[in-house]
């Protein structure tokens, strides 16, 4: 079930009413959330529910084993089993064909003929997200940062909680589990914040991202026939499309969670205002970047083992972060570009004793992100290289426009989105709590405006971009 569907428009109010008016104790509410979440997920393909159940069960059992073990080796062993089970599932469903393809290609390059071994595997929606969520829990138990959950329903609800199940934010057990365990009271503040953020999320996704996406799709479907201006425009549009698509999804997820009395962490914080790539990664897909920092970068030694090891760790983290997004070399290259620039920034900032270069840094950061997004969006490595070569050939004629209405609507809606972001930046307000700052009249009028803008300008799209990950 996706957020921008009729099914969800029916599902959400039903669960909301049952949750607050029928199931009034924590245990019953959690049970309702658990079954609703499985229903929500099973709407795609009920068979994949077994994967979530398996993943949840493994980590529930192993976390207790880890907690009870007094011997460090045993604790490590149980953690290893958890890592192998979770990453094994992820590797099979997401990377099996990628690795076998790459292996066959390598062998053929070396002159050995090997039979291609690819399987017809369907990628279960959200597997990368909930795998990382359960992993963080087990690692935290192993690190003795949190206690193993004693309530199986709470734990299973934590893994499958529907607002963030398929595309994050990747919530930490330390934040979400205590909220699941404690009694929740209906809060008007959270309700106001929630509905406002949901409305903004839908606006960002259905109006801005989906309109931009039409032009991007047009150009990126046949990139070889368009000139530099068209490709550059489409790449810039894509930078905003993916931002508003994914941040829109996160807004809806965070807003929906608030309706049920939960507070998630922020997942985006105006990333394109960043003055360096380092800052960008503190503001873009925050739940993933902090996950990678805490569980990969720091585990590798972080910046504690000298500058060369720090660079190595940064590169490994970003390359794997790229690979997390999908089984393609393009994602690895995308991660590699970000990793290389992070290393470069570390080096340069140290020399100049600074943390950024102001607005020049902001432009540079945007330029690098657009450049890297080309690898993210293009359908193949060859296409990415061809697009970049064409852009840097500076063949800047008139860009191909196609349907002028689509481009004008996209630009207008993008301007509204950007002005809203500028407003948040200047006023130093967070979208997460903007709803509660408005009085009832302002809230009602703002929501009416947003809803009517959605009604008049929404564009249809098959899915959220991050569902494929």
């Amino acid at each position: 079930m996706i957020f921008n569907s009729y099914a969800f428009a029916l599902f959400l109010p039903i669960v909301f009413i049952l949750y607050w008016f029928v199931f009034r104790t924590v245990k019953k509410q959690n049970l309702l959330l658990l079954f609703s979440s499985y229903f929500f997920y099973g709407w795609w393909d009920w068979r994949f529910l077994f994967l979530i159940l398996f993943s949840s069960l493994v980590d529930y059992v192993l976390s207790h084993k880890i907690e009870k073990s007094t011997c460090n080796k045993q604790r490590d062993l149980f953690l290893l089993i958890s890592l192998i089970s979770n990453l094994g599932l992820l590797a099979f469903f997401k990377y099996f064909n990628f690795f076998t393809d790459s292996f066959s290609f390598l062998m053929r390059s070396l002159g050995w003929e090997v039979d291609s071994l690819t399987l017809d595997i369907i990628l279960p929606v959200g597997i990368s997200f909930y795998t990382f969520q359960t992993l963080s829990y087990t690692i935290d138990v192993h690190r003795k940062k949190i206690k193993a959950s004693t309530d199986v329903i709470s734990f299973f609800t934590f893994v499958s909680f529907f607002p963030q199940l398929v595309a994050g934010p990747i919530e930490r057990a330390s934040n979400l589990l205590p909220q699941i365990n404690k009694e929740r009271k209906f809060s008007n503040i959270l309700f106001k914040e929630g509905i406002f953020q949901i409305a903004m999320g839908f606006f960002r996704k259905m109006v801005i991202a989906d309109n931009l996406g039409k032009y991007v799709d047009l150009i990126y479907t046949n990139p070889e026939i368009y000139n530099s201006s068209s490709l550059l425009l489409a790449s810039i549009f894509y930078a905003f499309q993916i931002y508003y698509d994914f941040s829109g999804y996160s807004d809806i997820a965070i807003g929906v969670a608030k309706l049920f009395g939960f507070t998630f962490n922020k997942n985006f914080n105006l990333p394109y205002f960043s003055k360096s790539i380092t800052e960008f990664w503190r503001k873009w897909h925050i739940s993933l970047s902090f996950w990678l920092r805490d569980y990969l970068y720091i585990s590798l030694g972080g910046n504690r083992k000298g500058i060369k090891i720090t660079y190595r760790n940064l590169m490994i983290t970003m390359l794997l972060g790229g690979l997390w997004h999908g089984s393609s070399w393009n994602f690895i290259i995308w991660g590699g570009i970000h990793g290389a620039v992070l290393c470069l920034e570390k080096y340069i900032f140290k020399i100049f004793q600074t943390k950024n270069f102001g607005y020049v840094g902001m432009l540079f950061t945007f330029f690098i992100t657009v450049l890297a997004w080309v690898f993210f969006r293009a359908s193949s490595f060859d296409d990415s290289i061809m697009i970049l070569s064409e852009i840097f050939s500076f063949n800047f004629g008139m860009p191909y426009i196609g349907d002028i209405n689509i481009v004008i609507t996209s630009l207008m809606m993008l301007t509204i989105g950007l002005l809203f972001d500028v407003f948040l930046k200047i006023k130093n307000v967070s979208l997460e709590d903007l709803g509660s700052r408005l009085n009832t009249v302002k809230l009602v009028l703002s929501l009416t405006l947003i809803i009517l803008l959605i009604v008049l300008f929404y564009s249809t799209s098959t899915n959220f971009i991050y569902f494929q990950f």
Binding site: N188, F191, I225, G397, Y400, T409, V444, T448, I451, V455
Partner: protein, 306 residues
């Protein structure tokens, strides 16, 4: 309780402002007679009862047929992004028993699209609350957004800017417009076309297993029946394409039209000489130069009907 109050207030506010906005847009929209979306439909509805020769179809009708070659009482209602469901709905709005000639452009490729559900009819959703025939046609294939019965502005989704633009800055005088939109070839466009040709040369098509889409066939039959019963002469034609790699589908359609007793012209290969790229905008669209020649060719083939 406060949340309940806010929810009710939002619903009332959205419902009320939606209606105010809907009627405001409608009052502007009704006066718009230019522009390829809403304006052209309004223009068509205004002239349809008094026009003798009418062209229907997709962008290939819109950009390829110069109606004035066929006489002064003519209008080209071809529209980009539309298909036979859209044409069918508009043809059914024509006056009963008035003699008219209908030229229907027919997309052979789409005719074999099994998954075609008639989504193009949504381009007429602006008229859902205004024209009963169009409303019924949309409802027949369940292409109405059910929410639009509550939130009426949904019918103006994606059209507001074009309505405002054409109201305040019309790009032509509708009284001298007959629905033909010639395509000019810019140097950039020529470059794009050359590159596209290179790419499509390599594409291999599956030229077997053709099965007519159920809905396509239904709409074609509806049109034929309407024309038979309402004094309309129907002529169906397939528009030129630069590459027509498969001929089997063309032959199936020729046979089918023969069985349906429809006058059908397969003009896919009108321009056998592929050297003159100035005739084309892309593989399936003619430039203004190509369209002028094609309109004359078509006229000579059907002038007996006038």
């Amino acid at each position: 309780m406060k949340a309940f109050k806010i929810t009710i207030l939002i619903l009332i506010s959205v419902f009320t402002i939606d209606k105010i906005l809907y009627f405001s847009i409608k009052s502007i929209e009704k006066e718009v007679l230019t522009g390829n979306g809403v304006g052209k439909v309004n223009h068509f509805l205004k002239v349809k009862d008094t026009t003798q020769f009418l062209v229907f179809g997709s962008s290939r009708a819109n950009h390829h047929i110069e109606p004035l070659i066929f006489g002064n009482s003519s209008f080209n209602m071809g529209s980009g992004g539309t298909n036979i469901a859209y044409s069918n709905a508009l043809i059914h709005t024509l006056p009963k028993n008035r003699k008219q000639i209908i030229l229907l452009q027919f997309d052979i490729d789409y005719f074999f699209e099994k998954n075609y559900k008639g989504e193009d009819i949504k381009n007429l959703s602006v008229k859902y609350h205004q024209n009963k025939i169009i409303k019924n046609k949309i409802d027949d294939i369940q292409m109405n957004n059910h929410f639009s019965n509550i939130i009426w502005c949904l019918n103006y989704n994606g059209k507001l800017l074009s309505i405002l633009k054409n109201k305040f800055f019309p790009k032509y005088d509708y009284q001298t417009y007959f629905g033909f939109d010639p395509m000019q070839n810019t140097p950039e466009q020529k470059e794009i076309f050359k590159k596209r040709l290179k790419k499509s040369e390599k594409v291999k098509l599956d030229c077997e297993n053709y099965e007519v889409g159920v809905l396509n066939f239904k709409f074609l039959n509806d049109i034929i029946l309407f024309c038979e019963n309402n004094n309309k002469s129907l002529i169906v034609f397939a528009s030129p394409t630069y590459y027509d790699k498969c001929k089997m589908d063309n032959n199936i359609v020729v046979e089918l039209m023969k069985n349906l007793k429809v006058k059908y012209l397969d003009l896919t290969d009108t321009f056998i000489d592929k050297e003159d790229l100035d005739l084309w905008k892309d593989e399936t669209h003619l430039s203004n130069k190509g369209a002028k020649i094609f309109s004359k060719v078509l006229y000579t083939k059907i002038r007996g009907n006038f």
